[in-house]
């Protein structure tokens, strides 16, 4: 996968500034959608009582995830170093199959399209898609 150009980084930072106030809601919606549209992802959350969209654990965890994405935005110039701890967490403790990063990224993009139909232009879409792919790559660094 290609690395992020200066234009990509500027686009991501500008768009993130716009959406950051609703990051928690976006995360909640994206995670909720993922669990419905890709039921295999529920296997990671067997310990939750309620996996329905908008439930308390989904809302809380969606916000946690988007917090991580926000951190990635601030470390966009060196994601591998910046997400070192999160990578260790996903590799050794959570052991989420990296294929799922792509699935979650897709659902984040769907939510962005829903919430920001005019701002989520194709140009913003491509930069965000590249960024989320780069984040996934950084998170997979410690897997093997």
């Amino acid at each position: 996968m290609t690395s992020l150009s200066a234009k990509d980084k500027d686009t991501v930072k500008a768009f993130w500034a716009k959406i950051a106030p609703k990051a928690g809601d976006i995360g909640r919606d994206a995670l909720g959608r993922m669990l419905v549209v890709y039921p295999q992802t529920k296997t990671y959350f067997a310990h939750w009582k309620d996996l329905s969209p908008g439930s308390a654990p989904v809302a809380k965890h969606g916000a946690t995830i988007m917090g991580g994405v926000g951190e990635a935005v601030s470390k966009i110039d060196n994601l591998t170093a910046g997400l070192f701890n999160l990578s260790e967490l996903h590799a050794f403790t959570l052991r989420v199959d990296p294929a799922n990063f792509k699935i979650l990224a897709h659902n984040i993009l769907v939510v962005l399209a829903i919430q920001y139909p005019t701002d989520f232009t194709p140009e913003v879409h491509v930069s965000m898609d590249k960024f989320l792919a780069a984040v996934a790559l950084a998170l997979s660094e410690k897997y093997r």
Partner: protein
């Protein structure tokens, strides 16, 4: 054989009967060419695809986007027989157009995003699941006759 519930059939029919093909088709195809630029390889004869603005205003792309979207009508009308319905189109995409079938998923994802932007919160998780299931079946059928 793909099984469809009454609810899924209703959701799919609803989406397509309320669709502005001339708006959504061009938007989906243009987005695909911008977000996944390697897909431009199939459109060398379409004129200026030099940057995002050129793609968005290219009349050939717009016409083709509408055409591709109408191509989905056949699947909507033949939900229980999508594989057979698309056998000929699959051969066309393989033998004549030489389209890598991985590209079908890319366009499907862009169509999902464009529909999501159009429907907003009405594009619920359940509707998204049904729509993506429908597109997955179409994508699979279109790749079926590749040898």
């Amino acid at each position: 054989m793909v099984e469809w519930t009454e609810q899924e059939r209703s959701i799919i029919n609803n989406i397509f009967s309320n669709l502005d093909y001339d708006d959504i088709g061009p938007k989906a195809l243009a987005r695909c060419l911008i977000v996944y630029p390697w897909t431009q390889r199939y459109f060398a004869s379409f004129g200026n695809l030099y940057n995002a603005d050129a793609i968005k205003t290219n009349p050939n792309i717009a016409t083709h986007g509408t055409k591709v979207l109408h191509g989905l009508d056949r699947a909507v009308k033949n939900l229980d027989n999508i594989k057979a319905t698309y056998a000929e189109l699959s051969v066309l995409h393989s033998e004549k157009l030489h389209v890598d079938p991985d590209n079908f998923k890319l366009l499907a994802d862009c169509l999902t995003i464009v529909i999501a932007a159009k429907l907003g919160n009405a594009f619920t998780p359940e509707i998204q699941a049904t729509f993506q299931k429908f597109l997955a079946v179409v994508v699979s059928a279109l790749g079926r006759q590749y040898h």
